[in-house]
């Protein structure tokens, strides 16, 4: 009898003990990212490091498509309450389209935000609240160039558009492709227009505000039209690769890396892909900002990286916030710069750059070191970006439509977007 009672008491005590011990609840967070290989690699590294640090948290990564389809997926999942606990998405106007004040958690009080670059915070805020933390470094939009060709033909980096076109003529005369275009991936056609924004805002500082308030238009602002005009100019001068209509983003990278083409207008996130696919040619690839007409005002249009957001409907907000804090910390920044090729300066104060950055990155740094030589791209300072731009620019670049008409079309497209967003003044 006594033995039974003892056993009974012992097991009861054991059970009570386990009940009292704060049960370290195993938390699983879901993390939605796009399917870009760089993103995947960085996300996996961050998750691994975080899981090591906080063993009772598991993070499951889910991939989604990018581009327009990805935008759709994000919007729908937020609308239907099916969003994962943490998700990655663009900053700037695409974020505004999600109506962050209603759908996302305010992250202003996350400790790491103190060291986050102010410029970045401005593109993930709405109504004065910060909704995201940066995922990655800033990047620039401009023109990749093949340094070997430049050296061979004795060319120097152009500071004005006229110099750029002069270089192109010499390159074409030497039998190489001057400018690579890759319209199979329609989004790549937008660069000449979008990367020109530094020059637009240098000439017309109020453009973004007026544009958002329906006062300025692409079609009626000569400085803004320049992007479209340049695209037509380069097409008409016969500077494109022969198969520009069918070439893909991959082809463009290959051409500028191997010296088949001299220039490829692109965003610097391509450095990651270049490193992965053409590592031996990485030293041959340089970068410069899209030149305007004024050699003294030659600056870089900057794209802010995507950000981590937390949906308001999540059931694991506290845990998600801790992960977001990790991503925005110096440690998280270091992990990312170690995994992904650096494409620009980090946005976390105190995060060092690795010593072996490729020439394309070092080419970018001077723009950031001097004040006033960078400007965030239009999509970050204005919530409206027409979804049909990439098709319109394909038309201009293929010679189907003239720049004036294209600008009118784009303004129309922007109007649709503004109305859909419910902006006033439209």
């Amino acid at each position: 009898m006594t033995i039974h009672i003892k056993a009974y008491l012992a097991s009861a005590a054991l059970i009570a003990l386990t009940a009292i011990t704060p049960a370290h609840a195993e938390v699983t967070l879901s993390f939605l990212i796009d399917n870009n290989p760089d993103t995947v690699a960085a996300a996996e590294a961050l998750v691994e490091a975080y899981q090591k640090q906080t063993p009772d948290v598991t993070i499951e990564i889910e991939q989604r498509a990018g581009g327009g389809e990805g935008d759709n997926i994000i919007k729908t999942r937020l609308a239907t309450g099916e969003m994962s606990d943490v998700f990655l998405y663009n900053s700037g106007s695409l974020l505004q389209a999600l109506k962050p004040q209603q759908t996302l958690v305010d992250l202003s009080d996350v400790p790491a935000q103190a060291k986050v670059d102010q410029g970045f915070k401005s593109v993930v805020s709405a109504d004065g609240k910060v909704y995201g933390v940066p995922f990655g470094t800033a990047m620039g939009g401009g023109i990749f160039y093949n340094r070997a060709i430049y050296q061979e033909l004795g060319l120097s980096v152009p500071k004005t558009w006229a110099e750029f076109m002069a270089n192109n003529e010499k390159i074409k005369a030497a039998g190489k492709v001057a400018v690579a275009q890759t319209y199979r991936d329609t989004w790549t056609s937008q660069l000449f227009v979008l990367a020109d924004y530094y020059n637009v805002q240098a000439a017309v500082p109020n453009f973004a505000e007026d544009y958002t308030n329906n006062k300025a238009k692409y079609a009626t602002t000569p400085a803004a039209m320049k992007g479209f005009d340049h695209l037509k100019e380069v097409h008409d001068a016969g500077l494109f690769n022969e198969d520009f209509g069918a070439a893909s983003y991959d082809d463009g990278l290959r051409m500028v890396a191997t010296g088949e083409a001299a220039h490829y207008p692109m965003l610097t996130f391509a450095i990651g892909a270049l490193k992965q696919n053409y590592p031996e040619n990485l030293a041959d690839v340089g970068f410069f900002a899209q030149p305007g007409d004024d050699a003294t005002k030659n600056g870089l249009t900057v794209w802010m990286p995507p950000a981590i957001y937390i949906p308001a409907a999540s059931e694991k907000i506290e845990e998600a916030k801790k992960f977001a804090n990790f991503v925005a910390s110096v440690e998280g920044c270091k992990i990312m710069t170690a995994i992904n090729t650096v494409q620009g300066p980090p946005l976390i104060d105190g995060c060092p750059l690795p010593a072996d950055v490729p020439p394309a990155v070092t080419d970018m740094l001077p723009y950031f070191k001097t004040a006033g030589l960078t400007a965030p791209a239009l999509e970050f300072v204005s919530p409206i970006k027409g979804p049909a731009l990439e098709q319109i620019t394909v038309e201009v670049g293929s010679g189907i439509r003239g720049p004036a008409e294209a600008a009118v079309l784009y303004d129309d497209d922007v109007r649709k977007q503004a109305k859909q967003l419910g902006l006033s003044n439209w």
Partner: protein, 292 residues
């Protein structure tokens, strides 16, 4: 004399047999089609709908690339339908004649109908690459400079239509073969005795008597052509630019952009287009049949 059946006895087919199908069909097909008319008149973001009258339709008929998509849809539908009818009939005549390996040929012609449209789209896109694709390489070997099938804006829609023909002609051929088989050989015998040539036999006997099949092929391929999306999306995504956009791809693009009201307006326009074309066509076919 058989007693009249008492009313209370159950019929072998109770009315409720309609019910399950009617519920599913009504809820998932008829109801959205009905509500689409309302939503096409709004600016919609799936949660709130703001009434804007005919604004969406006005856009469809004024914005150049939306108008282009309407025109393209009509061109595409007429082209594919016409080509499928003509080629289908010719192939059917060939494949009902006395030729070697007839069964094998019929199988080969029909197989593309069963294959994934996306797979076919990708395959032909690769084959139509302007410099490396095997079509242009082969043409180059013959000394002809192959055009940019999918990169030349004036050709893109036409190229997709050709692939559509490749994929769909087998079905048209099959229907025509069935139609041809129904024509009694006596007619041909009589004609041959009268000294009619093959061509005259075709014109006077085959064509009229194969009418039911012709009507079917024309109607089915027109409807399919007007609604076509998969192939165009797989091959060009409506590009280059907007040159191969059709109403179905516009519906999808506007949906992706979040312009749900505009997208639904596209649906209504497609609906109207099909009614406007198929209904008169059916009436015309029936009237001619009566006249005959």
């Amino acid at each position: 004399m058989v007693q009249p059946r008492p009313r209370s006895q159950k019929s072998p087919c109770p009315l409720w047999f309609f019910l399950p199908a009617a519920v599913i069909y009504g809820v998932f097909f008829l109801a959205p089609t009905a509500t689409s008319f309302w939503y096409s008149l709004t600016r919609w973001d799936l949660t709130t709908a703001e009434f804007i009258g005919l604004e969406n339709f006005r856009q469809f008929f004024s914005e150049p690339f939306l108008v282009q998509s309407l025109v393209n849809t009509l061109i595409y539908a007429v082209m594919t339908s016409g080509l499928k009818t003509v080629c289908g009939l010719l192939l059917a005549v060939l494949l009902t004649g006395n030729i070697f390996a007839r069964g094998f040929l019929r199988t080969v012609v029909f197989f593309p109908v069963l294959v994934s449209t996306i797979g076919i789209g990708i395959t032909f896109t690769v084959m139509m690459h302007p410099t490396k694709g095997i079509i242009n390489v082969a043409l180059g070997a013959l000394g002809i400079a192959g055009p940019g099938w999918l990169t030349n804006p004036s050709l893109a829609l036409f190229s997709v239509a050709l692939v559509d023909l490749w994929k769909g002609v087998g079905l048209a051929t099959l229907i025509f073969i069935a139609g041809l088989a129904a024509i009694s050989t006596d007619y041909y015998e009589a004609a041959r005795i009268d000294g009619a040539t093959r061509f005259q036999q075709f014109r006077r006997i085959t064509l009229p008597l194969v009418r039911p099949a012709t009507i079917t092929v024309v109607t089915l391929s027109l409807i399919g052509g007007l609604r076509s999306f998969d192939l165009i999306w797989a091959m060009t995504r409506g590009g280059p630019g907007f040159s191969s956009d059709v109403v179905a791809s516009v519906i999808y693009k506007q949906y992706q952009a979040g312009f749900y009201g505009l997208s639904t307006a596209g649906n209504v326009i497609l609906f109207a287009l099909i009614v406007a074309i198929i209904l008169p066509l059916s009436l015309w076919f029936n009237r001619r049949e009566v006249a005959q």
